[in-house]
């Protein structure tokens, strides 16, 4: 590694990003330490997925810096960005498996694209990665024959095929039954520790994420509104953090979407419309 081991792997400073008129990040600072599982949490629509795309260099911020392993992502040339991406794995919410290839070929895909390894070695590597996610027996299935949880595990195997330094998970637990949720939770932690990765988990599933992460950032309204280890956050007196972690329906994040006065709206709304 090009940097000393105690420096953060990802260092985000003063990040501002807007889509049209909508400000998504308004000056956030985030450090992702090496070797740990860091969670980015927040309600839907706070731009958590956008953050991963910014780290991966698929989007460019209007302002601020994003350094990954010492390299400034926003200023990298195309070829250097691609070289950096070979060391990053991103697990999409949908899995993003190539639908015309079977499980085996999907996992072999990055190896075939980026290496000139002989076929027997590719086979061994693919089977090792599939074994790690427990799907060695499913190697000849097509993506359409997989359940959502299995598709994500295959995508995980594919993401670790090139032995990256970091893994990013985009909502890995959404829409999973309890068993596959448990499998994914366990896999994220064990892969991180066994392969010496650094992981970023973007999620709004509080229990699962808190169980495996070493550090949590809470995002809301384009700002970091809380951070700390799961225990620290649980004890925090921030109203926002408590509402989010306990899933309270009303609080700093109001139940009602911004609207004009209720009584006013019912009584006089039709006049306004006529005008």
């Amino acid at each position: 590694m090009s940097q000393q081991d105690d420096s953060p792997l990802v260092e985000i400073r003063g990040l501002r990003f807007a889509r049209g008129d909508r400000m998504i990040f308004d000056g956030i600072d985030i450090d992702i330490p090496r070797g740990k599982v860091t969670a980015i949490m927040g309600p839907s629509g706070t731009g958590k997925t956008t953050l991963l795309k910014l780290i991966g260099g698929q989007l460019r911020p209007q302002e601020g810096t994003i350094r990954v392993d010492g390299e400034e992502v926003t200023r990298l040339s195309r070829s250097k960005l691609y070289a950096l991406r070979k060391r990053m794995g991103l697990l999409f919410q949908s899995g993003a498996l190539l639908t015309d290839l079977d499980v085996y070929e999907n996992v072999a895909f990055p190896l075939r694209e980026h290496t000139k390894l002989p076929e027997p070695m590719i086979r061994d590597l693919v089977l090792m990665k599939l074994q790690a996610v427990g799907l060695r027996g499913a190697r000849r299935l097509m993506p359409s024959e997989l359940s959502g949880g299995m598709a994500r595990r295959v995508a995980m195997a594919r993401a670790i095929a090139l032995d990256p330094m970091m893994m990013m998970y985009d909502e890995p637990f959404t829409g999973q039954d309890p068993i596959s949720m448990g499998v994914l939770v366990k896999l994220i932690r064990t892969l991180n520790d066994a392969l010496g990765l650094s992981s970023i988990v973007v999620s709004h599933d509080v229990q699962e994420t808190a169980a495996i992460s070493d550090y949590i950032y809470l995002l809301s309204g384009g700002k970091v509104v809380g951070q700390g280890s799961p225990d620290e956050l649980g004890r925090s007196d921030s109203e926002w953090a408590q509402q989010f972690l306990q899933g309270l329906p009303d609080g700093p994040v109001p139940f009602h979407y911004a609207a004009p006065d209720y009584a006013e709206d019912l009584l006089h709304g039709h006049e306004a419309r006529r005008r």
């Binding site: 991966g56 698929q58 691609y82 070289a83 991406r85 070979k86 990053m88 794995g89 991103l90 999409f92 949908s94 993003a96 498996l97 190539l98 639908t99 895909f109 990055p110 694209e113 980026h114 995508a155 594919r158 993401a159 090139l162």
Partner: protein, 260 residues
């Protein structure tokens, strides 16, 4: 009034923006060609799905079009006592116009729409994004092989269309209506020029191949990544590429055969 003007301006800007994006994409597709040539397997797979799978519709349509030309041509020519020139008429119509144009229209409907839908769905299901994150350039890996396949397939399909059409004309003219077989072939051989007719027809189909495949690929790549977006992109592919083929055909015909 001002609103309408504003709308008109916005639409015009959007059209130019899309044109710009299409040209930038075209440039990147061309840049990717060397890397595809180094991996002939990628190209072969696309040649199969774009070209070989379009073969049936091309052959069947070519035969029917040839038969109609034989029938109509015979009815017209026999009144002037020149039914023996039927071969010339069928061959020239096919090689100069019908072959390239009808093939391109069928190709837009059969392969172009499939290309758009496939690429659009790959975008909607984040497969293209996923490739980018695996440091694989989706333009080189997905788009360029498809473009090259269309570029190579179109002239071959058009040639097959014309050849089968000539056979169709022969079947009706000689086989059913009694035109002299020797006259059918000999007049054709005498009058159809390799450079002026056949070669110009090939140029046409190359141009149509580029236009149709480019439109199809761009529409897929630029599609809004939803089911509605992909369906609209597919429709646009067929409409735009058909119009482009017909418009280009007029320009090319005027350039090639204008002074005859």
């Amino acid at each position: 009034m001002l609103d309408r003007l504003q709308q008109l301006g916005a639409t015009t800007l959007q059209v130019f923006e899309r044109l710009g994006r299409a040209h930038i994409l075209f440039y990147y597709i061309l840049v990717g060609i060397p890397s595809v040539i180094l991996r002939p397997r990628l190209l072969a797979a696309q040649l199969f799905s774009v070209g070989v799978l379009s073969l049936l519709i091309i052959v069947v349509s070519g035969f029917f079009v040839g038969m109609v030309l034989g029938l109509q041509g015979y009815n017209l020519l026999k009144d002037y006592g020149t039914a023996s020139s039927l071969g010339i008429m069928v061959a020239l119509t096919l090689v100069r116009e019908m072959g390239p144009v009808v093939t391109a229209l069928l190709f837009a409907g059969r392969a172009g729409s499939a290309l758009t839908a496939e690429i659009g769905l790959m975008k909607a299901t984040e497969q293209l994004s996923g490739m980018e994150m695996m440091a694989v350039d989706p333009i080189k890996r997905v788009l360029t092989p498809r473009f090259l396949a269309g570029f190579i397939s179109m002239p071959l399909l058009a040639a097959i269309f014309s050849a089968v059409g000539v056979m169709g004309g022969y079947f009706v003219g000689v086989g059913l209506l009694g035109v002299d077989e020797g006259a059918y072939w000999a007049n054709m051989q005498y009058r159809v020029d390799l450079y002026d007719d056949v070669f110009n027809g090939v140029i046409k189909s190359v141009v149509f191949g580029i236009a149709v495949t480019w439109i199809a690929i761009f529409e897929g790549y630029d599609a809004t990544p939803t089911s509605e977006g992909v369906s609209r992109a597919t429709t646009r592919t067929v409409v735009h590429s058909s119009l482009a083929v017909l418009g280009l055909n007029f320009i090319l015909t005027a350039l090639m055969f204008g002074d005859n």
